[in-house]
Symmetry: C2
Subunit: 209 residues, 2 copies
């Protein structure tokens, strides 16, 4: 296998194992066995488990950056739904990261700095998007920047932790049937209810279609 | 030492180590050393690390149950602030649990069931409290039960994960200077902004005093 292919195999396998068992219970050796590679081969590509997690983060950040082209010229409530839907999919794919965010960030200073830069930038982009919604008459004009900032942070924390909230209430963790209507529709309903008092008639009509 | 004292020492020490280093990096042996106890003595009281975590959860749940006497006869916005403040304090004391909630619950089925019963009950109590606020003219009468339910779940997820959100943005994790104005005041401002569209004039006057 070419280097690129081997690395992709290692990362895909690691994501799957981390999602199933948590990072603490998955060693690089276990990843190597699941890949049918020697321990030495895995170590040739990745120094240690932290380095695998760091590369997984980089892939996730890249996907966010390239897939999320928010429509800010003429945003609609449909774009809002698409944005949220995309985010929930991505959170599910990399759910181990959201389950263990603080412990993971605590062990890797460089990853933490990257994460913070990415989060800051993404929060700014989301703010631009919601301001565009307001400008285009979908959010009420009287909604202050300060109220908007608060609701964006609240929506952010809600979204990032939505899998955790649902999983903590289930009889078994990491059950792929979770990835269903309850997860998507209930989560989206909360986001809409969060912004509801500030939605204009136009937005409510759009949403009911 | 009496049994009770020894167990308290083990739990206090474990909470401190888990908060500092995460549960994955703290063995029962490390807890024993930090307590100046033999490994055998720790195992006499607690079968394994999961059993220590389970007992820590029980203590946390007991504290919540006994300390949180929500005022539902004549609730004020001050009670809302007190409730939130108390919750943030408790979250800080047991922050390892909120950082690693899903991985912890995944390893202990009985703990998971207890957690679910407690969360359900607590969510119901919070709902009773907010309905009393509405009944006493602090939340607008036209706020529907469905909107109230949504905002309570949103507020719940926000509060449970507020430490994580703040910590993930900091240069160092587990820094006790986090336990400060930013954590309390910013968090409380978000909760108020979440409910603001539904607060009555009376509530807004109370809050500004």
């Amino acid at each position: 296998m070419a280097t690129k292919e081997t690395q992709t195999l290692i990362l895909d396998t690691a994501i799957d194992l981390f999602n199933q068992f948590g990072t603490a219970k998955v060693s690089t050796n276990r990843i190597a066995i699941a890949c049918h590679l020697s321990k030495g081969n895995v170590h040739y590509h990745f120094k240690n488990k932290e380095s695998i997690i760091h590369s997984i983060y980089d892939r996730m950040a890249y996907e966010i950056r390239t897939e999320w082209n928010d429509e800010v010229e003429a945003p609609t409530t449909k774009d809002m739904a698409t944005m949220f839907n995309r985010q929930l999919h991505q959170l599910w794919d990399y759910r181990f990261f959201y389950r263990e965010m603080v412990p993971i960030l605590a062990t890797d200073e460089h990853l933490r700095f990257k994460f913070q830069i990415d989060r800051k930038q993404r929060l700014e982009e989301v703010t631009v998007f919601f301001k565009a919604l307001r400008q285009h008459g979908l959010l009420k004009e009287e909604m202050s920047d300060s109220a908007l900032d608060s609701l964006i942070v609240i929506g952010w924390v809600l979204t990032d932790n939505w899998i955790n909230y649902i999983e903590a209430g289930k009889t078994s963790v990491n059950d792929s049937t979770l990835f269903n209507d309850e997860y998507f529709h209930y989560g989206y309903r909360l986001i809409i209810d969060l912004f509801r008092p500030y939605l204009t008639e136009q937005a409510l009509v759009e949403l009911s279609n």
